[in-house]
Symmetry: C2
Subunit: 348 residues, 2 copies
């Protein structure tokens, strides 16, 4: 297995290091040969190459069979001509990662983190990742007499919608779950096409219970009835918003990992924690590496098809979170290293 | 005072009738002369005129000094060539209502409705209402070989941003509150301009504490720390999503009224409950008229500059909600009429 690590900025290096320790233990247990390569992304890449997604990193990606990312961004690069986040978007497009899967669940023993009175939820958001307002053309400014006009374009091809919606349908079917498709079909033309595509595909999946929700109603209803959201599928920006909202419901982004993939299991993907680079606590051995370790679990399961290993890592993380020790953000006292060792010990 | 009532669909007629009863009482107390006119909107207008925003309604608007709306929409018109919601959008543009103000607060005694453990919040969302993805051109479909492309356009002029952001700054200043501006400036060009405009205006309001949030982070943080959101300003679609989210945090859209205005107090506006047409309970005397009555309060305060009356109505509603009787949706047993009478009796 050829792993590329893009540690990135802030706490990125610490949390990916934790994940690598877990990988080392797993590799021993399962007798894997793993080659680990490193490259630069985001702010770190701007500092080193003047480009948040440099050529060298593209080549390293081409040589790898999976990519583990830490985090990108920080106030240091707020005024860079191309900001760290632009590197992330370029990489998503370069790697053709059109599906972003974001599981959110309430881990037993951590209910107190949730702002909800009844924190019951176990869902996954399928977010389209290489279309919509993020990449549509034209975009830009135009000077008018005494004014300025600016546009962004929400652009989709039907085929781009079909593949992500189909992936979500198939997942719901395989796991016996309900599917919620989120759009704004009462206003947006793109959402009308989205809804038509969903209805078309629904005929191929008559056994998957499907509901449609407008994005505003979904935001409200996820807060009121999070347990109803098992599999959610939506376009890029709505998925961005709703998956952070789901993180809020769980009570901590630090607990969430994610998969960005090209749809076919067994192929290269990008796996990253949902949290940001948290520059304020970087380098202090205080960061919670759960998101990175879970992302590693998704990586071995998806790109390397090591399903048992994925399951073992996820179990070890969940148990450690439930029983402790826990990191400071969760009200515990463990350092990043101590938490990582505790997860590692459970694996062994 | 010249009031136009657009009762609309579903529970719209019932809840606007309640508001009118309160207006009658208020008019007697304050010795107002009020002329009440009625016209058709939404599904009702499709049935009557084949158009969700007919000419006759436009003329009635022109004659009025304020418009009270019930609700529009329903499954009956799902396949109409122009749906009820299109009438609402046309009306917003026709009336030039670029500012949508959506207050959300936790009413004492109703905390149990909120899904939150610590439901503390008292905020208002300033949503831009006549720009962005809702109205941008071009929009539509284009056939490609073996595929279909669809676009919507997120379009803003700087002047459109300036006026809504300034309105929110002024409100925050007048009330000694903090301001949160929500955008997606790490991805969208329009959001970058939004942020520049906000920074420019901030210089005129050095005494208003300002923060910027990306829309995804805002969705998460509103769930975790709703008390931090006092005045929020954002573009059309983000405002649509976040105001419904705020409704979810309060626990019921039935409790919320809203103002859609052209920015200048004392001018014509459109005032409507945030809830939908709820066709399932229409005509049963079960709907909660709180949103409509609060919208009436906003109407008399904004369009007619009757601030004492606004205050009296709001107080009467809050007290009735706190002490009962309450409608079924809030766990009470009162009918729409009984609740309305209780509010009316408090006014007298
Ligand atoms: C950093 C930003 C560009 C990114 C996005 O909006 O996609 C982030 O919010 C995410 O969800 O991964
Ligand atoms: C009905 C719909 C077009 C409308 C909107 O999106 O503006 C509604 O959700 C609202 O918030 O008033």
């Amino acid at each position: 297995h050829q792993l590329l690590v893009l540690a990135g900025d802030g706490i990125g290096p610490e949390v990916t290091e934790s994940a690598l320790k877990i990988l080392e233990i797993m590799a021993k247990l399962e007798d894997w040969q793993v080659e680990v390569d490193h490259a630069a992304i985001g702010g770190a890449a701007i500092d080193q190459y003047g480009d948040p997604f440099p050529e060298a990193t593209q080549q390293a990606i081409d040589r790898s069979s999976a990519v583990l990312l830490g985090a990108v961004g920080g106030p240091k690069w707020d005024n860079a001509p191309r900001r760290p986040e632009a590197g992330l978007l370029d990489m998503r497009q370069y790697m053709g990662l059109w599906a972003n899967l974001r599981p959110f669940e309430m881990i037993p023993g951590l209910e107190h983190l949730s702002p909800l009175r009844h924190p019951v939820m176990n869902g996954i958001i399928f977010r389209e990742l290489t279309g919509g307002l993020y990449f549509g053309q034209p975009r830009g400014r135009r000077f008018l007499p005494g004014d300025l006009e600016v546009i962004d374009t929400l652009q989709y091809r039907k085929s781009e919608m079909t593949r992500i919606i189909q992936l979500a349908f198939q997942y719901a079917k395989d796991h016996g779950l309900t599917l919620t498709s989120v759009d704004k079909a009462n206003v947006l033309e793109s959402s009308r096409v989205w809804r038509e595509v969903t209805e078309e595909l629904a005929r191929q999946y008559p056994d998957v219970p499907l509901s449609h929700r407008y994005v505003d109603a979904a935001a409200m209803d996820m807060v009121l009835n999070p347990q109803n959201y098992q599999v959610v599928v939506t376009e890029n920006l709505f998925g961005d918003i709703l998956s952070d909202l789901a993180g809020g419901l769980v009570g901590s982004l630090g607990l969430l990992g994610s998969l960005s993939v090209a749809g076919t299991p067994g192929t290269r993907g990008l796996f990253e924690p949902v949290h940001g680079s948290a520059p304020d606590i970087a380098g202090q051995n205080r960061a919670n590496p759960t998101g990175a370790i879970l992302s590693l679990a998704f990586l071995v399961g998806w790109s390397w098809q090591e399903h048992d290993a994925e399951h073992l890592i996820r179990e070890a993380v969940t148990q450690t979170l439930s029983e402790g020790p826990r990191t400071v953000d969760l009200g515990g006292q463990a350092t990043t290293q101590e938490f990582t060792e505790a997860v590692g010990n459970r694996l062994k």
